[in-house]
């Protein structure tokens, strides 16, 4: 036990079960949007431990955070990279805290890392409290008011021209950006639109009473219309496939493929009713 980080030594052993319980906690609301980044989320989780931040269980906190991220990912919530980076770091910290501490090396000990994290959280909480007190002060223009119709006092050294650094920078940045934005011609993207693809296929439907290899048909179409195969094959294929699927759904076409990556065959659906037992 002597190798264990002091932080872990202070922890009661039952902490190990926390992650399961935490994930089942009804109070754990998954709303990443409500958090101002991973540190904010950690601070919120830490507050649920209802102890002074300096006595917080970092191990439990790491597990809660990781389970939060798990849940969020299970719900397929988009997580900003920041949250994942923090999760990776906490997973690392957790493993460091659970494993025997290696002999003293260059790296800070797991206990040091945990203490540093606790201090960071404490600092954020402190500045938050300060921000709150600042916000509740009597503010000019909201709680107290200055003279509505001020008169100009005669005094030497008063600048004739009013200009703030902010105005100067805003003017410069906007002007430079405006000027540098060259007239940009968007390169004409060579695509076969879905509408066009449908027209091509509609023509095919007229011809193909029997199974026809679609690739060959499209190649002939591209050649006859002078479309460059090197740049446009992909778009022609993609749009045609989308259009085909749509037409199959509408009952206009039949589509056949004998195996993965095998050629696709298409034919006009015959007038006979669909062979489905309804």
């Amino acid at each position: 036990m002597g190798n264990w980080p002091s932080m872990a030594a202070e922890l009661p052993f039952q902490e190990d079960g926390t992650s399961e319980r935490a994930s089942g906690e009804p109070s754990l609301v998954i709303d990443v949007d409500g958090y101002e980044g991973p540190l904010d989320l950690l601070l919120d989780l830490a507050r649920r431990q209802k102890v002074d931040l300096s006595r917080i269980s970092i191990l439990a906190l790491a597990e809660q955070y990781l389970s939060f991220i798990e849940t969020a990912r299970a719900l397929r919530l988009e997580l900003a990279a920041d949250y994942l980076v923090m999760a990776a770091w906490l997973a690392y910290l957790k493993s460091r805290m659970l494993l025997p501490e290696p002999p003293k090396g260059e790296e800070p000990s797991a206990a040091d890392l945990a203490t540093a994290l606790a201090l960071r959280l404490k600092r954020l909480e402190t500045i938050r409290a300060a921000a709150q007190r600042l916000a509740t002060r009597e503010r000019l223009g909201r709680d107290v008011f200055a003279r509505g119709a001020p008169e100009v006092i005669a005094s030497e050294g008063r600048p004739i021209w009013e200009a703030e650094l902010y105005d100067l920078l805003a003017a410069y940045a906007q002007q430079r950006q405006k000027r540098i934005r060259q007239p940009m011609s968007v390169g004409h993207r060579q695509v076969l639109s879905l509408v066009e693809a449908r027209e091509v296929l509609a023509r095919l439907v007229g011809e193909a009473g029997e199974w026809t290899a679609i690739d060959g048909y499209l190649t002939r179409y591209m050649r006859s219309h002078g479309l460059p195969t090197e740049t446009m094959t992909a778009t022609v294929r993609a749009s045609s496939l989308s259009a085909m699927l749509e037409m199959v759904r509408e009952g206009v076409l039949d589509l056949r493929q004998d195996g993965a990556f095998a050629p696709l065959y298409v034919r006009r659906r015959s007038a006979r009713p669909p062979a489905l037992d309804l």
Binding site: R147, V152, R158, D167, Y172, Q175, Q177, R181
Partner: protein, 227 residues
């Protein structure tokens, strides 16, 4: 403040309390208002049992001898500096004016790109610089004529002065934020054009390699003489 002094009998005391409160309210309203306020407007905020005329009279009397007096103007009431103290106020003409957009742009370009000639400013801005714009900036003491560019026409180069730094609260010219910082502070938005660069500004008064001394100030200054 006579109105907060207690009276002997209850009712009189209550009435004085109400009047005192009404006076505080009218005082604050008139102070904060952009325009003069009419008696009707003022009455809306005052306890119903206090006649507004009484409040006005009280305040007029209370401010009569002070540095600021309650005056009837434009059909309403407003606080105004006592006429005998008008000398403390600046004449209207000296009201500080906002620097025009063109002047701000020109000043900023000179600050970042100095030493810079008028033609170069125009090239960056993409428009001709009105004659008055540079005059205003020179007059404000923010610009100085640095020297002459060693190029055809020997155009004057402009730079900023210590008074410029002083006015804009800069310790030194390269405290002006760079591209990344302009972006970081939200001044530049969206994708950066590849060729958008912001120079490290330098107001060193020593002449650059391509600058000559101003020389004879009586020689026409700008490239104006070339035309």
């Amino acid at each position: 403040m006579a109105w907060v002094e207690a009276e002997e009998d209850e009712e009189g005391w209550d009435a004085d309390q109400a009047l005192a409160r009404a006076c505080r309210i009218v005082e604050a309203l008139l102070f904060a208002s952009v325009q003069p306020l009419s008696a009707q407007e003022l009455a809306k905020s005052v306890p119903a049992n206090v006649p507004i005329e009484r409040v006005i009279a009280e305040l007029e009397q209370s401010y009569a001898m002070r540095g600021v007096t309650l005056q009837r103007v434009a059909g309403g009431f407003a606080f105004r500096t006592a006429p005998d103290l008008a000398y403390l106020l600046a004449p209207e003409a000296e009201q500080p004016r906002k620097l025009s957009r063109a002047a701000l742009e020109t000043l900023a370009i000179i600050a970042y790109h100095q030493p810079v000639t008028r033609a170069e400013i125009e090239e960056i801005r993409g428009v001709a610089t009105a004659k008055g714009t540079l005059d205003i900036l020179l007059e404000a003491g923010w610009l100085r004529l640095r020297g002459r560019r060693r190029s055809p026409g020997r155009p004057v180069t402009f730079g900023t002065t210590p008074a410029f730094l002083d006015h804009f609260g800069l310790d030194r010219i390269d405290d002006l934020p760079g591209l990344e910082e302009l972006k970081g502070a939200g001044f530049i938005e969206g994708r950066l054009a590849k060729d958008l660069t912001v120079p490290v500004p330098d107001d060193d008064p020593g002449l650059h390699d391509d600058e000559d001394p101003l020389g004879d100030l009586f020689t026409p200054l700008d490239d104006g003489d070339a035309s």
